[in-house]
Every structure is written in structure tokens, then in C-alpha cells.
């Protein structure tokens, strides 16, 4: 393997843009290599060698990233801060009437446009459940995680500490993280006792955070709970919506088995944050630090996606598939565009989205634009807004040729379909349809065994059996399925 040479313009050698998809890189390479192969009439050994060198780097995700970074350090990169690559399940569609399915994969990535500046300071509120059930290992580990967080913060960051049981208590009002001794002792002094009233805690946390301007800080409330809250679910949901309107995200972490996963997922989704399932107290610190690191490396905030579709194209479904899977909520805009909030984009944490479009063809043959996708976001350090626009074009033909579906898309869709099967199972179960829920979970189990996830497959089988016998599903089984399947795409590379 040759070393990467950042003085060479590999993109230029292949004649592709810095945002070129792996497919585009491959196609460009295929053409050039045929043209310049030493055995061909126009052969050019030196050029051929360069083409191969460029391709060896750009074809590999890791090498390409390394190369991009080296170019960036040298100041020779023309890095776009927001990139979006589109992959379609087909590039040709039937021109005959009748609906057809088209899958659109969007790989969205943020890169620092220049050398890293001072990061935007964090403005956090830690909202810690200190109900009786937290007593012991749970609260002890939460305390350790909170102390880790305090140690991680720099003096320009802000933090507030709130504990809640039946009522909320502001242990430390939002203050600069320069007096770490006081923060640590406040955390270590938390004593368990009482019930779980999430609303009060969340409200106090939001109050502390929203007192400081969101353009000067990365503002988040971090909620840690292990229990069910009663009767205030709707109030909590509207609080999450309000948080988002104020530019504050909520990271909701559930510990153990007894919390309401649907509520915590909603809090995260409505506020533009994330939810986490922490099955054992030992994982608390690890999950905590990885989320904190994500917040500290945010490049773009308030990332929004909108699609403008041709009249004969309908949006069927929209999902985030990486870093984890979830259905995206539609935010209809005034001008009838379909818009989605994607939250923030952190360094080295690209997002992948999948859209299902149903194309009601019956149009003339030839190339058509099915829609335009636009992504916008705000750079965290300079407040500058950036956007990228992409057209989705396909060719309508009488007899489209057989096309190979890009492997990465198939790979992601296979996992997404399992996630959807089990999500649908819980929904129909809620509605009382036990037969359908059983069969959906069985299908999910079959797929999981096929794909090489026997552990999750077994859980699905066990829960399906319980439903069939008329028993309740276990709270643990459901969480393992929901959070296990939504993470199936972790690590599937581009």
C-alpha cells in the first residue's frame, strides 16, 4: 500500500467533486482506467499509476477521511461544511402507469470548514432522578457519571444540577464550571427517597438552561431516570416541544427496565435530542461520556431537511437509519414543503436517512426530476448558516434494464425492515391485535436469525410466544428489542 500523499489532488485526478459518492468515484475510475491502461492505444503508464493511487485512497472510507483531513491541515482542502450524498435503489423507472417504489438514501455529514476553533461552551442541566428505586448501584453510578461530567467541563461551560423525586430541587443553579469542588460535593450529597415526577425536574432543568442565550452556548438538559411518571405524560411532551422552540435539546436516559420508553423517546424526538437505554448501572458512565463528547464536537446545529416533490411523487415514509434508527416526524411548512428536523451534526458522526417515495408514473420517457432535497444548518462556532441542495433525477423507460441495488442501501434497508416490524408489533399490540403482533415479531425473529443476530432473534421469539399465550410482554424484552434493533446499523460502513 502506498502512503497517502496530501500534495496530490486525488479528486482532480479522477475528475470528481469532493462530495462525490462512492458510486461516482467508482464510475469515474472505471472509465479512466480503461482509457489509460498501458495496454490500450491511449495508454499512459504514469497517469495510470496516479489514477490507481487516487482510487485506492478515495474508495476507502477511512483513507479518504484521513486524506481529507491531511488536506485540510495543509489548507488545500475545499471542504464543504455540509455534504449530502444521494443513493437511489434504481436510476431507471417504468414509464407505464401504476405506482412504483423508489428508495432514497441520504448520507449527511458535517466537517469543520477550517481548523478547529474554540468549541462553543456547553450549557447543561443535569436532571437526576433520586426516587427510592434509584437507591444503591444506580444512584452511585449516576453520581460517578455526573462527577466525570464535571471533570470534563472547562471553566467557560455552564452546568446546573437538579434532583427530583416527588418534587424538584435545584441543588446547584446554573453556574460556570469553575468551582468543581462545590459541584462535586453537591452531586455526592444526593440522597434517594420518594416517587418519580419527571415533569417537575424537567421544568426546573429547562428553566436553568434557557436563562442563557442559545447562540453563545450548546444548550442541553440531560435527564436520568429509572421509573414511570404518572399522569404528567402530556405535560412532559409539551415541555419537550417548548424546549425545542427555545433551542434546548433534551437527552433522555432510562436506566433499568421500569421506565416508559415511549415517553422518553418522545421527549428526545420532540426536543431534537436523543434517548438512551442503559440496562446496567455499570454502563451509565460510558453512555454519559459518549453523549457529552458528541455535544462538545457539534459542528452544525438546527439541521433541517426539506423536500419538494413532483406532483406524481408521494412521500411514503422517512427514517433516520444511522447513527440509530427512528421514524422521522414530518413538520409541514407554510409553503407545503415536507420538512424534517434532524437536530445536530457532530464531528465524525454522519447521519444516514432513508426515504420511500411512491412514484405514480404514467409519464413520458426520458429523464425527469422527481424532487429536490435541501439541507440547511447553522455552524455552531460562527453562527453562519449553510445549505446544500440536491436534485433526485431518474430515467423513465418503457423497459428499464435490471439494475443492481447498491449494497449499502440493501444492507441498511434489511435492518430498517426489522426495526419497523417490531415497532409495528408494539403498535398493533397496543390496539389489542395479538395475532398480528405475534406474527410481526415472528417475522422479525426470522430476519434477525437470517442476518446473524441470534440473541435478538431469541428475545423476539420469546416475546411472540408470550403474546400468543395471552401473557404480557416483558418490559425488558420490549426495550431490548426496540433499542437493540434501532442500533443494528451501528458499524455498517459506507
Amino acid at each position: 500500500m502506498r502512503p497517502i500523499d496530501p500534495t496530490k489532488d486525488y479528486y482532480g485526478i479522477l475528475g470528481v467533486s469532493v462530495e462525490a459518492t462512492p458510486e461516482e468515484v467508482k464510475n469515474a475510475y472505471r472509465e479512466l482506467v480503461r482509457q489509460y491502461h498501458p495496454d490500450s492505444p491511449q495508454g499512459d503508464e504514469e497517469k495510470f499509476r496516479l489514477i490507481q493511487e487516487a482510487y485506492e485512497v478515495l474508495r476507502d472510507e477511512v483513507l479518504r477521511r484521513t486524506y481529507d483531513r491531511q488536506r485540510q491541515i495543509r489548507g488545500t482542502a475545499h471542504t464543504a461544511p455540509l455534504t449530502c450524498q444521494i443513493t437511489l435503489s434504481r436510476n431507471t423507472l417504468w414509464s407505464r402507469p401504476g405506482p412504483q417504489m423508489l428508495y432514497i438514501l441520504l448520507d449527511v455529514d458535517a466537517r469543520r470548514p477550517g481548523p478547529a476553533r474554540q468549541r462553543l461552551p456547553l450549557n447543561l442541566a443535569l436532571v437526576i432522578d433520586r426516587s427510592t428505586s434509584m437507591k444503591g448501584a444506580r444512584l452511585d453510578n449516576v453520581k460517578m457519571a455526573a462527577v466525570d461530567l464535571v471533570d470534563y467541563l472547562s471553566p467557560a461551560d455552564r452546568v446546573a444540577i437538579i434532583s427530583f423525586s416527588d418534587r424538584a430541587r435545584v441543588e446547584v443553579p446554573s453556574s460556570l464550571a469553575d468551582n468543581k469542588v462545590a459541584l462535586r460535593s453537591a452531586i455526592m450529597g444526593l440522597m434517594p427517597g420518594g416517587g418519580t415526577e419527571i415533569y417537575q425536574g424537567l421544568l426546573a432543568g429547562l428553566h436553568e438552561v434557557s436563562a442563557y442565550p442559545i447562540d453563545k452556548y450548546t444548550s442541553y438538559v440531560i435527564l436520568l431516570t429509572d421509573g414511570h411518571t404518572y399522569g404528567d405524560d402530556e405535560k412532559i411532551r409539551s415541555l419537550a416541544t417548548m424546549a425545542k422552540a427555545q433551542g434546548v435539546g433534551i437527552i433522555a436516559m432510562g436506566i433499568g427496565e421500569d421506565w416508559n420508553d415511549l415517553l422518553l423517546d418522545d421527549i428526545a424526538k420532540l426536543s431534537g435530542g436523543v434517548s438512551d437505554y442503559i440496562s446496567s448501572p455499570r454502563q451509565i458512565r460510558e453512555v454519559f461520556m459518549s453523549r457529552l463528547n458528541e455535544l462538545a464536537t457539534i459542528i452544525l446545529r438546527q439541521v433541517k431537511l426539506s423536500c419538494n416533490l413532483a406532483s406524481y411523487v408521494k412521500l411514503h415514509a422517512a427514517f433516520r437509519v444511522q447513527p440509530y434508527m427512528e421514524q422521522l416526524n414530518l413538520n409541514p411548512t407554510a409553503n407545503g414543503e415536507l420538512a424534517f428536523d434532524l437536530g445536530h451534526l457532530s464531528e465524525d458522526q454522519p447521519q444516514a436517512l432513508v426515504f420511500e417515495w411512491v412514484v405514480e408514473a404514467g409519464t413520458e420517457q426520458g429523464e425527469r426530476r422527481l424532487g429536490r432535497i435541501e439541507l440547511t444548518g447553522v455552524l455552531a462556532d460562527s453562527r453562519e448558516s449553510v445549505s446544500v441542495r440536491r436534485d433526485v433525477k431518474v430515467n423513465f423507460m418503457l423497459k428499464p434494464p435490471e439494475e443492481e441495488v447498491p449494497a449499502r442501501l440493501v444492507n441498511l434497508l434489511a435492518r430498517l425492515s426489522v426495526f419497523r416490524l417490531q415497532e409495528q408489533a408494539w403498535r398493533v399490540l397496543e390496539a389489542g391485535d395479538t395475532r398480528r403482533a405475534t406474527s410481526l415479531l415472528e417475522s422479525a425473529a426470522t430476519r434477525l436469525f437470517d442476518m446473524g443476530y441470534p440473541d435478538l432473534g431469541h428475545i423476539a421469539m420469546l416475546e411472540a410466544e408470550r403474546i400468543e399465550k395471552g401473557e404480557q410482554v416483558t418490559s425488558k424484552g420490549r426495550k431490548q428489542m426496540r433499542y437493540g434493533t434501532r442500533s443494528l446499523t451501528i458499524g455498517s460502513s459506507r
Partner: protein
């Protein structure tokens, strides 16, 4: 009555649900609906009969087109496979979850450990000449001792040795009428 000019709806082979054309995973049960149908290549452990011909080869050899048959011997296991190159032959590892069904599946021979990619290389004929092309595999393909440039066709001749990762294959080409 299905209109031959119209794309067909896809009936899921596993649950019979009807999916609109272009659907890749059954909406009802999540089964992969491959564009090429749920056909799976037959197991390739070819019993060595006295003619070295499998039933489907016999059928195709009756046609007018000169049938070229590829005989590939996997050197470390000794398995001999006969393949028709009327259609392209994909060499790789079977991965049903991703819809990869190679004509020559190296998975049972320890293909993974030997560094064979799922889509590793392909062999095809043009105007009676046999070509091999590396499909940008992770560990590369060698023709005798030459490393193939990905996506570039190389002429394949009888007696050549192909190396995929560390797996070595001996190739013999039989053209009908010779």
C-alpha cells in the same frame, strides 16, 4: 390477466403479500424481494459423472449458441465445479440477507477466512473470448501471478490459475465442438 408491458406487482414468496414494483423488502414480513426473484443458485457440489455434465448443461448444450463451459477446481478442497458462461459467473460468498447469490459460492470452502469478498470477481464471455474482472475486492484477484486492476477485463485461458484472497482456483475452459 397481467399486462406484459407493465411491471408486475411483487408477491412476497414468504407471506404472499402484494408489494408495488420496486419494493425491496416485503411491507408485511420484511422478506428481501430481490429484483432477480428469490432464485438461489443450486448447490454447486457437482457429482462427478462420467461426462462431467450436469442436467442443466445438457439442456443448454443442445442450443445453437456455442456453449462455453468453465471448469473450476478449488485447489485446497479439490472441489470441481462446472459452470455455463452463457450468463456471467459471479465468484464470491453467498449472503442471502444482502441478496448476493454468486454462481460460485466460496463460503463453504472457508471463503471468509481466505479473504474472498462477497462480490469478488466475475467471469464472462464476449465474442467467444473468456474474461475475468476483479470487482474491487478487498484482497484482490491474481491471474497467475499478475494482480488484476479492478474493473478491467483480463483474458482468461484454459489452464490459468486465479487467486482470490488466498484461495486458489484452477480454470479449464471447454468450448462445445472442440
Amino acid at each position: 390477466m397481467s399486462d406484459p408491458e407493465r411491471p408486475d406487482e411483487i408477491i412476497c414468496p414468504s407471506c404472499n403479500a402484494v408489494n408495488i414494483p420496486g419494493t425491496l423488502f416485503c411491507v408485511q414480513c420484511g422478506t428481501y424481494l430481490s429484483a432477480r426473484g428469490p432464485l438461489r443458485t443450486e448447490p454447486l457440489s457437482v457429482p462427478e459423472d462420467e461426462h462431467g455434465v450436469r442436467p442443466w448443461d445438457a439442456r443448454t448444450s443442445g442450443r445453437a449458441a456455442p456453449a462455453t463451459t468453465l471448469e473450476i477446481q478449488i485447489l485446497h478442497s479439490g472441489r470441481r465445479v462446472l459452470l455455463s458462461v452463457e450468463r456471467e459467473v459471479l465468484i464470491g460468498r453467498l449472503d442471502a440477507a444482502h441478496g448476493i447469490f454468486p454462481e460460485l459460492d466460496m463460503a463453504p470452502e472457508g471463503g471468509l477466512e481466505q479473504g474472498v469478498s462477497r462480490r469478488h470477481a466475475r467471469i464472462y464471455t464476449r465474442d467467444g473470448v473468456c474474461y475475468v474482472e476483479d470487482l474491487d475486492s478487498t484482497n484482490g484477484t491474481y491471474l497467475n501471478s499478475e494482480r488484476l486492476t479492478p474493473y478491467l477485463p483480463y483474458v482468461l485461458s484454459s489452464g490459468d490459475t486465479l487467486t482470490l484472497g488466498t484461495a486458489r482456483l484452477k480454470v479449464n475452459i471447454h468450448t462445445a465442438g472442440k
